[in-house]
Symmetry: C2
Subunit: 609 residues, 2 copies
């Protein structure tokens, strides 16, 4: 939109609540406030408001004045300082190559209110896992507990009716009630992570693990022509507005460092990156020129900024590369192919693998979580579950144990392209090889033949693998394989993945997941159109679609819809039937109910009688 | 578009092949030609053209002059006449109420080249099942065999590489080679149907059964304001262009009879209807006024026109209605609620149930197949798999056996809204209760919370249940629950369901399904952009999306894409790696391969070594 840089311009930021929702807060640890979204229903239904998990941060809170050059309110500094195991320090000097030597009109300005970074005091380990294993419940864990526990009370009615668990949980074990100490245990055992760099103090803590709500990630990245930091921050705000739980910044090219700073200071959700992308920029895009020193320096640069998790392709071992030679689509991961190229060029083992302990040592000083990258993931259904993929997964398991020795939090990345009958094997093998470390998959796409619709091909696999136990699903947009997503693509991708994640929660038997479905279905059945829109994942689109056929305001309370019209409406007929049946049943079973009994007694009457 | 009636205007009909495809034919039974779509690939890849199943009829054949007032070429009359078991007769007189008393400018003209209908000669049974059970291979069966067998030869390479079956077929048993006699057996045993009314002579026969390719259905219906028959025919043409295997005409209101005639005479795919909709129109929309006589007359009216399958809600028994009273969404099927209302109003058993033998007697005289309607399907995930749903399914099983006693072909309709963990139970119960009759499901939607995106929520369930053995998937468009679908919605719905059906074929291990995925993946990996577009389910959208980021013609042959750009491209890097690895391996394993061996031998080297 804006062709000149407008760093302090917040006009491009989408603010305000979704239609029919309002921001509510409940008290959190040490004066913090835990955000929810609440949908009030039409008074006619006498139902309580539906409270929803809320990823959108202060942007949907009308009481907060957004100023992206100030950043979001600091939530965590006092928690971190109270732990007395970190120190503030000058930090690494920002170098011209951190921003791709951007200069003049091409350069994005620095974020104006930079704070000095913190790191662990000498010898200390500041990861959530470290605290958890020592029995310490952090404010982050408390925050997560309250946030995840939110719907349990509302779910009581559902639980009463269907019994505590209507679902097939596979290996998940979702408790009725989430306590801070239970969160601590999940983190201690590596089954969940709380990605929360001590330098990302604006973060509203969240957990990724199979016994929590299934999470989704959205990827963003700078455009070839950066039009202004507000536009870059808006990509984040837009993604979390629709429900992204974490956001990965996959920017390349110029201004990476400065854009990331703007994003982090304005992000209430964990931010992930793939540090090798920036390292590669620093060596002019020549994979062979990468060195451990350049990579290490890039890690520290990003740790100081507050990145919450790093994708590290340490499993792409030299010996596995020949296994990809006869694949239909070889290596399709960018990070994987960069490392493969480096290995081959030097005929040496992947330096991320050989320096894995060194990487852990850095990450535990800031509490950055690993997202162990699947550089050899299949890029076509033909290559799914092959030797290369599972050889790498085995190494990721080995690396997980090393990271856990350092008390560094870990999740494992997964495919990719996998036909339906091979999806569950991925989950089973991941658990087998990587212990209980959370699985974080891209889709998987269950067929290769639908470019332009790959948010859908991948949502099928994502919903299934989420059900089987995957903790976070990385979204795919309709532009996958074809081009760069625009705003509408991001919205489609995020909403589609919220569908997959929620379908997984339902199928696992999450005790609160059904509350929203049932409330929406009741609204649908009772023709409370506005309630139906407000409870839906995309209230704006639902209303827009309804308006296309029945635009009048009166139609929003009409007891019919456009599919059947007033005369044919099955919902209306059923309501009549229900009223009639109830009335008759109440009338002492004199007439109709007697008929019912007679017919009930002859349930197997042959049709020709 | 057109506000006046333009019955002979074919300008609104979409004709011509999809980009990169051409129509090819192979010889079929008694001089017929079996249509396929062939995608030629770039000469650089030295791969044969990919032959695809083609539902689009003569509309995509540039050699055929389309004139909707003439209708499509007659394919089947000589087959039917050669069987010498049918007679031509005057047929029922069209009554004003057949068209909702439409008159003057509101009336759609009659199709100008109406033929006299045929029916079975006295005492004869003309169903494909009847012939099949007597060991007769009909031309319809031969046609289906060639049509379904098409890709088997091309699949040989895949079979050689992966073994004959890379899939989990559950109860399906898809043969390597499809012969006419095998088709006959499938039909004889009721495991497949060939919906083919003897009065639908324009039909290109196809089969629905779990050992055939998974099929999809698209629903169409007249708009409130009928703008012309060409527009109504275009809805059909548009749906089959994107891949609908059958089309249901769910029109209500005026002109139903005449519009249906235009549709049938121009349809190469089976047409299904819900006759109770028209019967209800004839009694002014008052369900209580429905009678067996009116319904019977409507059946005959539609049999004479050539409707290939009827949804009949004969399983909505009086005794089951009270089971729906405590549901979250009661009865959501239109037909189901109409019959429930009738039952309650009269306190009598459903007349479709009590007259089921009479219905069979009519249907076998024309070879109309049953689609036994699930009038009590769940309309919300809360109601899935409940007592009402399965009680009805049990009755559908009972009715299946009665229909089979008449040699009438049957498929069974299924839900609806079902969370993932309850999807497979639907397939298992259907098979248990209805023998091997094909299952035909609507979705199912795996969550209720995404109005505006229900093509996606339902494609997740559809792909899964298709894999488990469902034979045909009824599409859902993005407008489901909200409004009437427009052209783009129909396209989205059909393509989304082609994804679900194809994902199911892949997962079942259909021997030919992977040919298209592998060809497309190779094209993707080799940057044959045009091949990738042409092999995709929606070549137009794929190209359009690519153009949005990289519009230049040169980009269509560029060895990179917009995601990573030329410098970062993982595909390009991998191709370099592959070339390098192959070269080195060929060089007598002197350098790198030696390193590989060393590392291969120490696969479990600890990371810190």
């Amino acid at each position: 939109m804006n062709s000149v840089l407008q760093p302090f311009q917040s006009a491009a930021i989408t603010v305000g609540p979704l239609p029919g929702s309002r921001k509510v807060h409940v008290p959190g640890p040490s004066g913090s406030r835990i955000p929810f979204r609440e949908v009030a229903l039409d008074p006619s239904c006498h139902e309580p408001p539906v409270r929803l998990y809320d990823t959108s941060g202060p942007y949907t809170d009308p009481d907060v004045q957004i100023a992206i050059d100030k950043g979001l309110p600091d939530i965590r500094s006092r928690w971190i300082e109270a732990r007395k195991d970190t120190e503030s320090y000058a930090g690494r000097t920002v170098l011209p190559e951190d921003n791709g030597h951007a200069a003049g009109i091409h350069s994005v300005p620095e974020f104006p209110h930079k704070r000095a970074p913190r790191r662990a005091c000498n010898g200390h380990n500041v990861t959530q896992m470290h605290y958890a294993r020592r029995g310490i419940i952090t404010p982050e864990m408390e925050f997560v507990a309250i946030r995840e526990n939110l719907l349990r009370q509302q779910a009581q009615e559902t639980i009463d009716r269907l019994g505590p668990r209507d679902g097939v949980p596979w290996d998940s074990a979702i408790p009725d009630d989430i306590t801070p100490d239970w969160v601590r245990q999940e983190v201690a055992e590596g089954r969940a992570i709380i990605p929360a760099n001590i330098n990302h103090t604006e973060l509203e803590p969240m957990a990724i693990g199979r016994n929590f709500l299934v999470k989704i990630n959205a990827n963003i990245g700078n455009s070839a022509v950066t039009s202004g930091v507000a536009e870059e921050v808006e990509k984040l705000v837009w993604a979390i507005r629709w429900g992204a739980d974490t956001v990965m910044d996959l920017s390349t090219g110029r201004n990476i460092h400065n854009i990331r700073e703007w994003i982090l200071r304005n992000s209430p959700v964990p931010i992930g990156t793939v540090p090798i992308y920036q390292a590669l920029e620093k060596v002019g895009g020549i994979a062979e020129d990468l060195t451990w020193d350049i990579f290490r320096d890039t890690l520290i640069e990003q740790c100081e900024q507050g990145v919450d998790y790093f994708t590290i392709h340490a499993g792409v071992r030299l010996a596995y590369i020949p296994m990809t030679v006869d694949r239909v689509t070889g290596i399709v991961s960018r990070g994987g192919s960069i490392m493969a190229k480096w290995c081959l060029a030097h005929h040496r083992e992947n330096f991320l693998y050989t320096h894995f302990d060194d990487i852990c040592a850095i990450m535990k000083a800031y509490d950055v979580s690993f997202s162990l990258g699947d550089g050899l993931r299949p890029g076509s259904t033909a290559d799914a579950n092959d030797r290369a993929q599972f050889a790498e997964l085995e190494t990721l398991g080995e690396l997980t144990r090393i990271a856990w020795n350092h008390d560094v939090q870990v999740m494992i990345e997964g495919p990719g392209h996998v036909p339906m009958h091979k999806v569950q094997d991925n989950m089973i093998k991941q658990k087998q090889l990587c212990g209980d470390a959370p699985f974080y998959t891209l889709g998987p796409l269950v067929t290769d033949i639908a470019p332009g619709y790959d948010h859908i091909t991948s949502a099928i696999g994502a919903a299934m693998i989420g059900w089987f136990g995957t903790s976070m699903l990385c979204y795919v947009t309709p532009k996958e394989h074809l081009g760069l997503p625009d705003r509408e693509d991001v919205r489609s991708g995020v909403v589609t993945y919220r569908i997959a994640a929620h379908a997984a929660d339902l199928a696992k038997g999450h005790p609160a997941a059904r509350v929203r479905d049932d409330a929406l279905s009741r609204a649908r059945f009772e023709f409370r159109w506005m309630d139906q829109f407000h409870l839906s994942l995309d209230p704006e689109k639902a209303k827009e679609f309804h308006d296309q056929t029945l635009p009048k305001e009166a139609h929003k309370t009409a007891h019919f819809c456009s599919m059947c019209g007033p005369k044919f409406c099955s919902m209306k007929i059923t309501q009549d039937i229900r009223n009639e049946a109830r009335r008759e049943i109440e009338q002492g079973m004199q007439t109709m109910s007697q008929t019912f009994r007679e017919h009930g007694a002859e349930l197997y009457t042959p049709a020709d009688s």
